[in-house]
């Protein structure tokens, strides 16, 4: 019965709008016209785009997982000061608008960026040795920068709750480190690896801003093509055909992925394997290099932003920040930018509160109903694989009559955010849920515990770390305003990213400073949010 809730949500706010817009696009005169699909195959442009989209997403995902895996190991095995703070802050890049990340990257890695300045000074060169602008490499780097935290956090939350018996036994039997990774660790964390990998892949697959801004026009993903056809050319049939191609390729991938998942008999334990302080020199070195590499890679671009927001004409200035409290020129949109913080927080909280229970129920449904899972598991991932323009148009044509006249209501914002946040919550919870020994719940029920009791005192504490990760991403997705273009009333809908885009939309020194200051505020608000969410873990009590 409870399962109907997420299904209804998905049906009303995703499938119905999506099918409505496809219907209008492909049946403009009342009869089905599929000639747009033929166009996909007539020129090799679209096939090339599809292949490139796959290629860059695959490459980005592989690099992300490869880097996140050793870091996850260190986070699981060792205890060190600032660990949980670092884990939280690693999520920060995820919230930043792509325009801002592009700016931070060129401040660091551009031809006139910091790294090139350093290299030039060090080796007394008269040219910039690092030429990354407009290459595939910088697209991959930016994707890893964005998605590193997804992989790290999902893997860590799951892995930390697994026991170490198998590993200890294998070590006793003389397995070397290669055998340990190949035969014990990788098979054990496979579910989390796949879960994180699929999320990261979809995210890169639908990448828009990063590819355009950093890669230049030479590189275009399907998402870019869909936007161009739907908005600039207004060729709805072709846009619909491209959207369907995008969704189908993701769907086929997801089906392969879900049916390839093996049943694993694992035992998730409260508290799980306890992390310890690094003892030997080698261990200390490992922890140190992981932490410093992470800090270098994830935080220097963020610090570059902070620095640029503070420098004005060679001196330190807080003007950008001061101006945030003012309503510039009494303009309607320029509500004092601080008011946007309240709006952003409200939407993020609503999205989180909706996505958590819905995601939890969905995860249970996917876990318990083995047969339905094959269908529903990929289904819940789809909103993430659907182009924002398509979904936004769907809202306009579908949600236009009472009782669902939501297309111009502010509530459409948290609804859209919840759709995108749901896959994150589900993918965070699912690996842990699958690892809860079934016997535990069964014996509790034999002893007279109600299902509710089993859920609150058995499952919930075991799921707590994964829930925290899911909540963090739901919060972040909404704060970063991943969403369709929506018709919403001006005042209530001005969020932090909207203010940043607006400020970056016209020339002048003051808007530039304020936009950067607003980015820093966005990061601070998110960091504060992460720390609060982290405290909710108290429910679980476990340390990891």
């Amino acid at each position: 019965m409870l399962y109907l809730l997420p299904l209804a949500f998905l049906g009303v706010f995703y499938l119905y709008p999506l099918l409505s817009i496809f219907d209008i696009s492909l049946r403009p005169a009342g009869t089905l016209d599929l000639s747009a699909f033929a166009r996909l195959f007539l020129s090799d442009t679209y096939l090339r785009t599809l292949l490139f989209t796959f290629y860059q997403a695959l490459l980005s995902t592989a690099v992300t997982l490869l880097l996140a895996l050793p870091c996850a190991y260190i986070f699981v095995r060792y205890r060190f000061p600032g660990k949980s703070l670092l884990l939280s802050l690693a999520t920060l890049p995820f919230v930043l608008p792509t325009v801002v990340v592009a700016l931070a990257f060129s401040a660091l890695l551009g031809a006139r960026g910091l790294v090139n300045d350093l290299l030039r000074a060090l080796f007394t060169l008269d040219y910039s040795p690092l030429q990354l602008e407009r290459t595939l490499a910088i697209i991959i780097i930016a994707h890893v920068f964005y998605n590193f935290a997804i992989a790290l956090r999902i893997i860590t939350a799951y892995w930390a709750a697994l026991g170490t018996e198998a590993e200890e036994a294998a070590s006793c039997l003389g397995a070397d480190w290669r055998a340990l990774w190949r035969d014990i660790r990788l098979p054990l964390i496979r579910p989390a690896l796949l879960s994180a990998g699929s999320l990261v892949f979809i995210f890169n697959f639908t990448s828009f801003g990063v590819v355009l801004l950093l890669g230049g026009i030479r590189f275009a993903t399907l998402e870019v093509q869909i936007y161009y056809q739907a908005v600039n050319i207004f060729n709805l049939p072709l846009a619909a055909a491209l959207s369907i191609a995008q969704i189908l390729s993701m769907l086929s991938l997801m089906v392969i992925y879900t049916s390839g998942q093996k049943k694993l008999q694992l035992s998730l334990r409260r508290g799980g394997a306890s992390a310890r302080l690094p003892r030997r020199r080698r261990e200390k070195l490992m922890v140190f290099s992981c932490v410093s590499l992470m800090a270098l890679f994830l935080f220097t671009p963020l610090l570059a932003l902070v620095a640029r927001s503070l420098f004005a004409g060679g001196a330190i200035s807080f003007d950008g920040y001061r101006a945030l409290a003012e309503r510039s020129r009494g303009s309607l949109l320029f509500i004092p930018p601080v008011a946007a913080i309240g709006n952003s927080l409200r939407f993020a909280l609503l999205s989180m509160l909706a996505a958590l229970p819905l995601g939890l129920i969905s995860a249970y449904m996917i876990h318990r109903q083995q047969r339905l899972a094959r269908l529903f598991d990929p289904l819940f991932m789809l909103p993430l694989a659907t182009s924002a323009v398509t979904l936004g148009f769907g809202f306009i044509v579908a949600l236009d009559e009472a009782p669902l006249n939501l297309r111009a209501s502010v509530y459409i914002i948290p609804i859209a955010h919840t759709l995108v946040a749901l896959p994150f919550v589900i993918r965070s919870i699912l690996p842990s849920l699958r690892a809860i020994p079934r016997a535990l719940g069964e014996s509790a029920q034999v002893l007279g515990a109600t299902p509710w009791h089993v859920f609150t005192s058995l499952d919930l504490p075991l799921l707590a770390p994964s829930l925290v990760v899911g909540a963090t991403f739901a919060f972040t997705v909404s704060m970063g305003e991943f969403g369709a273009s929506l018709f919403v009333a001006q005042r209530e809908s001005v969020t932090i990213p909207v203010v940043i885009y607006r400020l970056f939309g016209h020339p002048g020194f003051a808007p530039y400073q304020q936009a950067l200051a607003m980015c820093v505020v966005l990061m601070l608000v998110c960091a504060a949010g992460f720390l609060l969410i982290e405290r909710l873990r108290g429910v679980g009590g476990g340390e990891f």
């Binding site: 060129s106 006139r112 026009i217 207004f234 303009s331 148009f393 009782p403 939501l406 001006q490 005042r491």
Partner: protein, 350 residues
């Protein structure tokens, strides 16, 4: 039990959200993300007319128009503001407007009035022109290019940043200006010109923000290396207005030579099937009123359509309005947009 409570709660919530009844004394304006006006002036209109104004925004001008067309059988609002001459033809073909002849029309610049049977009314215009870094050109002992032909000269190699016309509105406007200049027939067409620009290492950025703040020497505070950028004629005064020291004067200037700028005119129109057509007309007249018109430059960085509007002093001093901007028929733009952009991409990417 819990299920039932949750379902009931969901139902109540849905119904409440759905009860978004349109009141007769509300007028709903649909516009793009760049819309801005001052709160005081809006409050003045609301007090005088007794109407409550609701402003809906949806992405850029293209997204807004697409959504307005999709919802034309059940319009989201009463008035649509922000369709420009590059999109006008599409809006008219979709028949989303109902005609209204404002009594204030005679006060507007006659050259802005479209041949459209009063379906839309011009509110403002802005010219997409090259901007240059004054200090950079002084240091280099170079004078900025004064024609498109000069721009393709070796002297300006690697200096220009522009936007992708497929995704950016000024990018498209600049492309249209070159098409108006070189035409698409004869021995030398606009495509040949772009091949020269490409040879001359013109940098194509994704959008205005990327070009101006990422690559333009002034906007990027030293990160970029392009002293020439495609922007607006209103950008130099905006730079002065928002600089640390407005007294110091202009750091950038627009090149407004004949035919080198493309004029974008923004229109407003009453939506067919509007719930509050009378209110929409009232707001349209208000947009042509002196109070709204005179604050257009500082709010949206465009120039008033009214001939008798006084400009903000900084705009009066630093804004250059091109005497002879390039122009193309809106119908021709709509007809050829895809072909032109495709051909452009082939030249620039091959």
């Amino acid at each position: 039990m819990i299920t039932r409570i949750l379902c009931a709660a969901l139902l109540v919530l849905t119904l409440q959200l759905g009860a978004f009844a349109q009141e007769q004394d509300t007028v709903v304006i649909i516009t793009h993300d760049s819309f801005a006006m001052s709160e005081a002036i809006l409050a003045g209109f609301e007090a005088e007319s007794g109407l409550t104004v609701q402003i809906l925004r949806a992405g850029d001008a293209g997204q807004m128009l697409s959504q307005a067309i999709l919802s034309k059988n059940n319009p989201l609002g009463d008035l649509l503001y922000g369709v420009d001459n590059t999109f006008l033809s599409r809006a008219l073909a979709a028949e989303i407007f109902t005609p209204y002849e404002s009594p204030l029309l005679p006060l507007l610049r006659p050259e802005l009035l479209p041949e459209a049977d009063f379906m839309v009314t011009p509110v403002d215009f802005g010219d997409v022109c090259l901007n240059y870094d004054i200090a950079w050109f002084e240091d280099a002992g170079l004078s900025p290019p004064d024609s498109f032909a000069a721009l393709a000269d070796e002297a300006y190699r690697g200096l220009l940043a522009l936007q992708n016309p497929a995704t950016s509105s000024p990018g498209l406007a600049f492309l249209l200006a070159t098409i108006a200049e070189f035409g698409d027939e004869g021995e030398y067409t606009w495509l040949d010109y772009w091949a020269e620009l490409r040879e001359n290492d013109a940098l194509v950025a994704e959008g205005w923000t990327d070009a101006y703040y990422g690559h333009f020497t002034v906007g990027s505070r030293g990160l970029g290396d392009r002293p020439l950028v495609v922007s607006y004629a209103s950008s130099p005064p905006a730079e002065v207005l928002f600089s640390e020291d407005p007294e110091a004067g202009a750091v950038t200037a627009a090149i407004t030579a004949d035919g080198m700028c493309f004029r974008q005119v923004e229109y407003v129109g009453v939506l067919a099937g509007a719930a509050n057509e009378a209110g929409a007309r009232q707001f349209l007249d208000f947009m042509l009123g002196q109070a709204f018109q005179e604050e257009l430059p500082t709010n949206m960085f465009v120039f008033p359509a009214r001939e008798d509007s006084a400009l903000h002093p900084i705009f009066a001093e630093y804004a250059q309005v091109p005497a002879l901007p390039a122009s193309l028929e809106p119908a021709r733009i709509e007809q050829n947009r895809e072909v032109w952009i495709q051909a452009w991409a082939e030249v620039m990417l091959s």
